[in-house]
């Protein structure tokens, strides 16, 4: 590991200043992703700004919104009574991620900002445009079984690995940030980016911007929800592909639907067209299959991830079936 400075401010503004003024400074929360990347030489910050003393741990309801502090631990959020009652999909997605030990360290802000697990990104001797712009994409013609089928570019075909974010994009969350230019909110669907020509940028955060909270509006999706994570072992593995499904069913008819996929794109992949295909239809397997077909439109595979074209619709159908309990 390289040498670095370490500071632990107690005021948000001090933390923001420390990062905004120093291109080589990074926030550190649970450290479960950043420290690994530093050990491998993938990220080499010269200053770490520990934000754990900031007061962003609370989970509170204000009006029709549940505000989850950016420093709330993944395990705290997953076990929170309000989250479980009002947004059970989020709890399911969180508990499908990593291991209990990691969830006890990982924060909401850190989870959203965890970087791709693409092997070429992780190995500093290999080409990767995300790590080293202009060096090429190792995965494009390499071992790409974990890689994207939607929204990729010829610069990058990596996927975003977060399970939590798939639920958050489905649930219309909003990200609250505080930065050198003040506060702003970013709709979750606009938070992460597609790679395009600048895969080095994972999100639309500006330098020095600190995530303070994630807001979840009240929703009718308290009952018929499921997070279907397909992985190579029963637990503690990143998704080959995942589906967050939420249905509002009235008397057998779907009144509203939310659907998103993980492990398929550079960002959590919201499936709005498929959602529309569900609304007003009976909650049956046939409906789910139609929606799955809509969801998969435009998907394109590489040499080793062709299975995702088959797995995707199957996982959507299974997620919807489980959510609807049919």
């Amino acid at each position: 590991m390289n040498q670095f400075q370490y500071v632990r401010p107690t005021k948000p503004q001090a933390a923001i200043d420390a990062v905004a003024k120093d291109a080589n400074a990074r926030f550190i929360a649970g450290g479960t992703n950043l420290v690994d990347l530093m050990k491998r030489g993938v990220m080499t910050p010269q200053k770490l700004v520990d934000i754990n003393r900031l007061d962003f741990r609370k989970i509170e309801r204000e009006g029709n919104t549940l505000r989850i502090g950016a420093l709330a631990l993944n395990s705290t959020v997953a076990n929170d009574r309000q989250v479980r009652e009002r947004h059970p999909l989020l709890a399911l997605a969180l508990n499908a991620g990593a291991s209990p030990q990691l969830r006890n360290m990982a924060t909401v802000g850190g989870n959203m900002l965890q970087r791709t697990r693409c092997a070429y990104f992780y190995d500093i001797t290999m080409p990767c445009n995300k790590r080293q712009p202009g060096s090429g994409c190792g995965a494009l013609e390499g071992i790409n079984r974990m890689h994207a089928i939607f929204g990729f570019s010829d610069k990058c075909i990596a996927v975003h690995p977060s399970d939590m974010s798939v639920a958050l994009v489905a649930l219309d969350a909003t990200v609250q940030v505080s930065g050198p230019k003040g506060n702003r909110s970013i709709p979750f669907a606009d938070f992460h980016r597609l790679p395009g020509d600048t895969p080095e940028k994972d999100t639309n955060l500006e330098p020095g911007e600190l995530i303070t909270a994630v807001d979840l509006p009240d929703s009718p999706f308290t009952k018929h929800v499921h997070y279907q994570k397909v992985r190579e072992r029963a637990s503690y593995a990143f998704a080959l592909l995942s589906v967050a499904a939420a249905l509002d069913i009235d008397n057998g008819t779907i009144r509203a639907a939310r659907l998103a996929m993980g492990g398929v794109a550079h960002k959590p992949w919201r499936l709005t067209a498929a959602e529309q295909a569900l609304v007003g239809k009976p909650a049956t397997e046939a409906t789910f299959q139609q929606a799955a077909a809509v969801a998969m439109q435009g998907a394109k595979a590489f040499k080793y991830n062709e299975y995702k074209l088959r797995l995707g619709p199957n996982a959507i159908v299974q997620a919807l079936k489980t959510a609807a309990a049919v």
Partner: protein
């Protein structure tokens, strides 16, 4: 006095269990010596070629750095012979990789420099500052591409009787003309051992010609021999300590580059040097189960008698060593096929050498053979268990001689009953549990009941404790516990009064822990050492009490602080007096196999039954139940033996469903570099494993009746699961691991 209760067979707790769970057990990386320095290896970033330049200046100037050692400045060990001339690797041809001797790059991440600093962190930081330049050459890391150049191992060319030579009984490739025939190819990927404990060593030159190594090794004597030879030292001047080994599975059966590098580093900085590999380096520097292609041709009669089998394999090796294993061994002896052909070949790749991994060879071969058995049973519309029964061998068809013992039928019965084999449907895809398809499969395993020579020493201590010593290691199976039980029964002494010490090359000579041979080999040595000790004590006691002179061994009784004779209360000799006599009580014996191995074929046998669930939409496979049954002779400790079986079964789940080290051939470099990418089973993947032992002593292997457990615990598990997946889905996966992408 009542005879003490027998300890052999009892589920006694591990003698070192408390040390292990309290953290008191010291592993090789946990020795702290005064003035210790820390070494980190720098690996090459190309797979083949030459080093044309090394810039070490920045690393040398980094804080705390004591030395940066490369082939340009490393001291030459006098015993290092040019490649191909090292006799220390009898099983292989060519020689183990010598590091820091030349500018040759033979695989990606080959050590090219070792950085030594006063702390680990500083060594690690400086290691990243070393810059290398290369003249890269075209490398080959793809087995498929290397197959056309596959070759017969040199040992087989020299000796047609070698186990890797082509084998023939009856007609060559007779399956081709069989009425009912099957031809199929099977592939297993590279699998990496990844024991919990990383490879590590602390090298300490106590004097310019005296070396002590705290090393992760399965054989203290073998490691001592290798490095004594490398440095031109008498073996007595090298001491290897490996008291606790945190799992090895074959990973520490070889002397590896990092060990040489640590010894060189310690020489250069003249301080004890500790070197521990990273998890990433565990992929590249210390062996793996080789990627292997196999093909089976099989024919059978309509009533289910096998008429011919041809089994071919091509296994990966490195360019500098011919690594061989017994992939085709089980096929030669398991089923009664009058015509049988095997062909074993190697393909050399620009990757570090493989090494035996639990159930070496046999586990690979059994995946093909036992899958093919299942495929043939399906063609015949026969229950696969019934098909195996129709081809059961009552004597060894390879060597044409009797088995020393074989209770595989008993295992079949016990396992079938426990898994609920009667629920299995002949037609695949017939059972389900909600959205999960349910299937049943079986796989058979076997491994030679090997027994070698070993010594053991015993002595009585003044407090009445018997101290036994052996250089053998305990890599996890519970060797120390089993030996204590054997000694307890032989001496008629409570286990608490026995101290068995192991894992030190200064102790009585013992073989390397491996090949399921340790209880078979060291057990008899301990038994004989205990008998010799009794005799010695009787002799010593006879000097002061004539009654001992004519006493029988069985009558010698250990009491609190006296030796006495059963039925003769007057005969008493105080331990305090005995141990004071000239020469002391210490005895060392050597125990050797009898000639029985020439008359009988000696094998342990196992059968594994799996119940799996396959998700109809996602293709995920979960093993819901495993039953492992073994004919392993006498079971010395039901608990540790059961633990071996369960561990082997879980290893088999990894092999069947997830383990897969992947190389990007363009770079000749692994893309699976940590345990997040390279999956091994977690708790949620491991169902309850039910274990059954026949527990019948083998009359010929040794006096204890043991046959060995470690390997058969895993051999046959992967095909049992693959066969169950077929039974559940009708899909036959012939290339491991069976990941969801192959089923969806």
């Amino acid at each position: 006095m009542n005879a003490p209760e027998k300890k052999i067979g009892k589920p006694m707790n591990r003698v070192d269990g408390r040390q292990k769970v309290t953290g008191a057990a010291k592993y090789s990386a946990e020795y702290e010596l005064p003035n210790m320095a820390y070494a980190v290896l720098v690996g090459s970033t190309i797979a083949k070629g030459r080093l044309t330049g090394l810039d070490t200046k920045a690393a040398e100037r980094a804080p705390g750095v004591l030395a940066v050692i490369t082939h340009l400045n490393a001291p030459k060990a006098p015993g290092i012979k040019p490649a191909g001339k090292d006799p220390s690797q009898p099983q292989t041809v060519g020689s183990a990789l010598q590091v820091l001797v030349d500018d040759n790059i033979r695989f990606n991440d080959q050590p090219i420099a070792v950085v030594v600093a006063d702390t680990l962190e500083r060594a690690r930081f400086a290691a990243r500052l070393v810059q290398a330049r290369y003249a890269a050459e075209k490398h080959l890391t793809n087995l498929e591409a290397a197959k056309p150049n596959a070759f017969l191992p040199t040992q087989a060319k020299k000796n047609p009787k070698s186990p890797t030579a082509d084998y023939q009984r009856g007609q060559v490739d007779a399956y081709k003309t069989g009425a009912l025939k099957l031809e199929a190819e099977y592939v297993i990927p590279t699998e990496v051992h990844h024991p919990m404990e990383l490879q590590s060593i602390t090298a300490h030159w106590e004097a310019p010609d005296r070396l002590t190594l705290y090393d992760k090794t399965q054989g203290t004597m073998a490691t001592r021999r290798d490095f004594a030879r490398q440095w031109g030292l008498p073996e007595a001047n090298v001491k290897v300590i490996a008291t606790f080994v945190g799992g090895a599975f074959g990973n520490a059966l070889h002397s590896w580059p990092h060990e040489s590098a640590a010894i060189i580093a310690a020489k250069v900085v003249n301080r004890p040097v500790k070197l521990m590999l990273t998890r990433e380096q565990m992929f590249t520097m210390v062996g793996y189960r080789p990627h292997t292609w196999q093909k089976i041709g099989m024919s059978a009669t309509a009533d289910g008698k096998i008429t011919a089998i041809t089994h071919e394999s091509i296994g990966q090796t490195s360019t500098y060593e011919e690594f061989t294993e017994s992939t085709l061994g089980q096929t030669k002896m398991m089923y009664q096929s009058p015509n049988l052909t095997t062909r074993y070949r190697l393909a050399a790749l620009d990757i570090g050498s493989p090494i035996w991994m639990r159930g070496p060879g046999e586990a690979t071969g059994a995946f093909a053979l036992e899958s093919a058995m299942d495929e043939m049973a399906h063609l015949l519309n026969l229950d696969p268990l019934e098909f195996r029964m129709r081809n059961y061998t009552e004597q060894d068809p390879e060597k044409d001689r009797p088995w020393s013992s074989k209770f595989l039928k008993e295992c079949y019965q016990a396992g079938a009953q426990r898994i609920g084999w009667n629920k299995r449907q002949l037609k695949p895809g017939a059972l389900r549990d909600g959205e999960w398809l349910v299937g049943y499969g079986m796989g058979v395993g076997t491994f030679g009941a090997h027994r070698g020579s070993s010594k053991a020493s015993a002595q009585l201590l003044p407090n009445g404790t018997v101290l036994l010593q052996s250089a053998v290691t305990d890599i996890g199976p519970g060797t120390g516990t089993a030996m204590t039980q054997i000694a307890a029964d032989t001496l008629g002494l409570a286990p608490e009064k026995i101290r068995f010490e192991w894992g030190n090359s200064d102790f009585a000579q013992a073989p390397t822990q491996g090949g399921s041979a340790i209880v078979n080999t060291v057990g008899p040595a301990v038994q004989e050492a205990c008998l010799a000790l009794k005799d010695k004590l009787r002799e010593l006691a006879a000097a002061s009490n004539g009654a001992f002179a004519t006493a029988k061994k069985e009558d010698i009784t250990f009491t609190d602080n006296h030796l006495t004779l059963a039925g003769n209360p007057a005969a008493r000799a105080a331990y305090a007096d005995l141990v004071k006599q000239a020469g002391g009580t210490a005895v060392t014996v050597e125990s050797k196999p009898s000639g029985e191995g020439q008359k009988y074929s000696m094998y342990s046998f196992s059968v594994h039954f799996a119940e799996v669930r396959v998700h109809e939409l996602t293709g995920e496979v979960r093993v819901s139940k495993l039953v492992s049954c073994a004919d392993a002779g006498t079971i010395v400790n039901e608990k540790t033996a059961g633990n071996q079986m369960k561990g082997g079964a879980v290893g088999g789940i990894g092999m069947a469903l997830m383990e897969h080290a992947i190389i990007d051939d363009r770079f000749g470099r692994y893309v699976t570099k940590d345990l997040a990418d390279y999956h091994v089973p977690v708790h949620a993947d491991a169902p309850a494993v039910e274990v059954y032992f026949v527990n019948q002593p083998d009359p010929h292997v040794n006096a204890l009746g043991t046959k060995g457990i470690g390997e058969i615990a895993t051999i046959g598990v992967a095909p049992a699961i693959a066969n169950a997946v077929f039974n559940a889905t009708g899909k036959r996966v012939r290339e491991l691991p069976i990941t969801p992408d192959k089923l969806v």
